[in-house]
């Protein structure tokens, strides 16, 4: 167990290095911040001056190393426009993003897990079929469209909920539904198949044969074992959830990290882009790490070799 955790920690560290390298290469090698910052008719002297000022005249490896050591200390540089610390700007908006993702997760899982379990128990029933159709349709739904339709319906037509911004619980409802709708279909399908797997196991049949009440059977025997696939799903979905948050924050003008990043991407405020991408990716790495550790805890059979074989 400890060996496994240490191994996973090293792996996570490696992933973090890779993330920083790709982000750095993308912004510094593929793109050229200087040319984008200066007007098109800027002289070569201006370009050289700005390069010097931003520390972009040094060799690439030196730039990467200083980027890395700065990033490790949480310093991603200053926003090119507001001159504020990029990390400060990002952290300031982190609570909003976490609030939204948490709310989206509650809505998504609140719909998906009960429906997935019911579909599995009543396999082939009308409920199961409706859920399947709903999940297929939900998976095809572009959530930025769903968000806009919800705004048109509830903010414009019925005037019962605010269309954008953050503040009260009312502001959270539409974004949370949008994000939840993104999360729910796949989670439901995976919960259903995870539950079906468990329900066909021998120990369930044994329990049923010895007369264990159906309710006890489901909650004590089946659901507890279905928890492993469900936790796995949760971890894997976290990355998707953040992707969904990018879309949701943009549609609802939600003042979170993702909408900050999108804005920074548009204005080529690369310290902020860098910081936001690296920090969000870090969140995903940590979530995946915690999931893997949680699974090991839930299922002692899973060990390094088996888990990654």
């Amino acid at each position: 167990m400890q060996v496994y955790v240490v191994h996973r920690l090293f792996q996570a560290l490696f992933v973090c290095l890779g993330i920083s390298l790709i982000t750095f290469l993308l912004l510094h090698v593929v793109g050229n911040p200087v040319l984008l910052l200066l007007p098109q008719d800027a002289s070569d002297a201006d370009v050289a001056l700005l390069k010097e000022k931003l520390g972009l005249a040094r060799p690439l490896w030196a730039q990467y190393l200083s980027f890395l050591s700065d990033a490790a200390r949480g310093d991603f540089g200053q926003s090119l426009f507001t001159q504020e610390s990029a990390l400060g700007l990002i952290l300031e908006r982190m609570p909003a993003t976490l609030e939204l993702t948490l709310a989206g997760m509650i809505v998504g899982l609140g719909i998906a897990i009960p429906l997935g379990v019911i579909s599995a128990i009543r396999r082939g029933s009308l409920t199961d079929r409706l859920c399947t159709v709903g999940a297929v349709a939900g998976q095809a739904m572009p959530i930025f469209w769903l968000g806009i339709m919800l705004i048109i319906l509830f903010a414009v037509k019925f005037r019962v909920l605010p269309a954008s911004g953050r503040g009260t619980l009312w502001h959270l409802i539409l974004p949370a539904i949008t994000l939840g709708a993104y999360l729910a279909p796949l989670t439901m399908r995976l919960t259903r198949s995870g539950m079906l797997d468990v329900l066909t196991q021998d120990y369930i049949r044994t329990a049923r044969a010895k007369g264990v009440a159906e309710r006890v059977l489901l909650f004590k025997h089946a659901l507890r074992n279905a928890a492993i696939p469900i936790v796995t799903i949760l971890g894997v979905q976290f990355g998707r959830l953040l992707g969904g948050a990018v879309v949701t924050e943009t549609v609802f003008a939600w003042p979170g990290v993702a909408s900050l990043a999108v804005k920074a991407i548009r204005t080529y405020d690369y310290p902020v882009v860098q910081g936001a991408v690296v920090l969000l990716a870090l969140l995903i790495v940590v979530a995946n790490l915690l999931t893997d550790i949680a699974i090991t805890y839930l299922d002692p059979r899973i060990r390094l070799g088996k888990a990654h074989g």
Binding site: G18, A140, R266, V277
Partner: protein
């Protein structure tokens, strides 16, 4: 009973996909108006069933007086070609990497697998957005970016499958007969993976269409005045408080198309490989 229902899904999906492809190919003949034709006199006309609507513009017109139905029909060209091309790039890259990692193992596998882990840890959308912002928004750049960021999904599955086949007797036999590695990969391993790859790719087309739409929605994809569903939805969003149809119909077009592709892909999976329903679904979670 279940399989019959699945076949029905497949048929419905195939019909929707066919319809979208027909729209794309036959757009010049199907569209009632020129999608670029502006006419201030008929700007912001509501759909035909709303007060003030007219059969001349069944789905209404946009702020420049362009016919929405015609633009949606033409929009199929962009979405379908972008989705298909992005998948082609991502699939080629991903399958190649997966074959290499799975077949050769060792150092090659370590490098590729770690790269996959890194790529999958990225918030995919942010990575694509940042890349587009760096290289500049255009159709070609978008395809490259979606392709280059979308390959790890294939690599993961193809690697796992290749690992399995590498140890099978027929591959061992080919090796014993002295066949070269590349020949074994192309002639003996890859053909066994074709079904899996086709199913994944068909489902990925839907994901790529949604991503393309979102990029265009943000103004980072297809540039105006080219009619693309995402860009139209983005324009419509500005008017959503007063003119709902501008955002509603382009989004509906995206939804119906991706739904058709998903139904088709799911059905295809059951037909081609009924045993892999679970693994493929798990792979799609990224």
């Amino acid at each position: 009973m279940g399989s019959l229902r699945r076949l029905r899904f497949l048929a419905v999906g195939a019909s929707i996909v066919l319809l979208a492809v027909l729209c794309a190919v036959l757009a010049p003949w199907l569209a009632p108006h020129d999608p670029y034709l502006q006419a201030v006199s008929v700007r912001l006309i509501p759909p035909v069933w709303d007060a003030g609507g007219t059969w001349r513009h069944p789905l209404g017109t946009d702020p420049l007086g362009r016919d929405l139905l015609s633009r949606i029909i033409y929009g199929a060209q962009v979405s379908i070609s972008a989705g298909a091309l992005a998948v082609l790039v991502a699939m080629t890259l991903g399958v190649l990497m997966g074959l290499l990692a799975g077949y050769y193992g060792g150092g090659v596998d370590a490098i590729i697998s770690n790269l996959v882990n890194v790529m999958l840890a990225f918030p995919f959308l942010l990575l694509a957005l940042a890349a587009i912002a760096v290289v500049g928004p255009s159709f070609g750049n978008m395809i490259v970016v979606l392709g280059v960021t979308g390959w790890p999904v294939y690599t993961r599955v193809v690697r796992a499958e290749t690992l399995k086949y590498r140890e099978r007797e027929f591959v061992q036999a080919a090796r014993a007969l002295g066949l070269g590695s590349s020949r074994i990969i192309w002639a003996h391993v890859l053909p066994n993976l074709v079904n899996t790859i086709i199913v994944m790719a068909s489902l990925e087309v839907a994901r790529m269409i949604i991503l393309e739409s979102f990029l265009s929605f943000l103004g980072l994809g297809i540039q105006p005045p080219i009619p693309s569903w995402g860009a139209m939805l983005g324009e419509g969003r500005v008017y959503m408080l007063t003119h709902w149809w501008l955002a509603a119909f382009p989004g509906l077009a995206i939804f119906v198309t991706t739904l058709g592709i998903n139904l088709f892909g799911d059905g295809l999976r059951d037909v081609l490989d009924p045993h892999r329903v679970l693994t493929a679904a798990a792979a799609r979670t990224e």
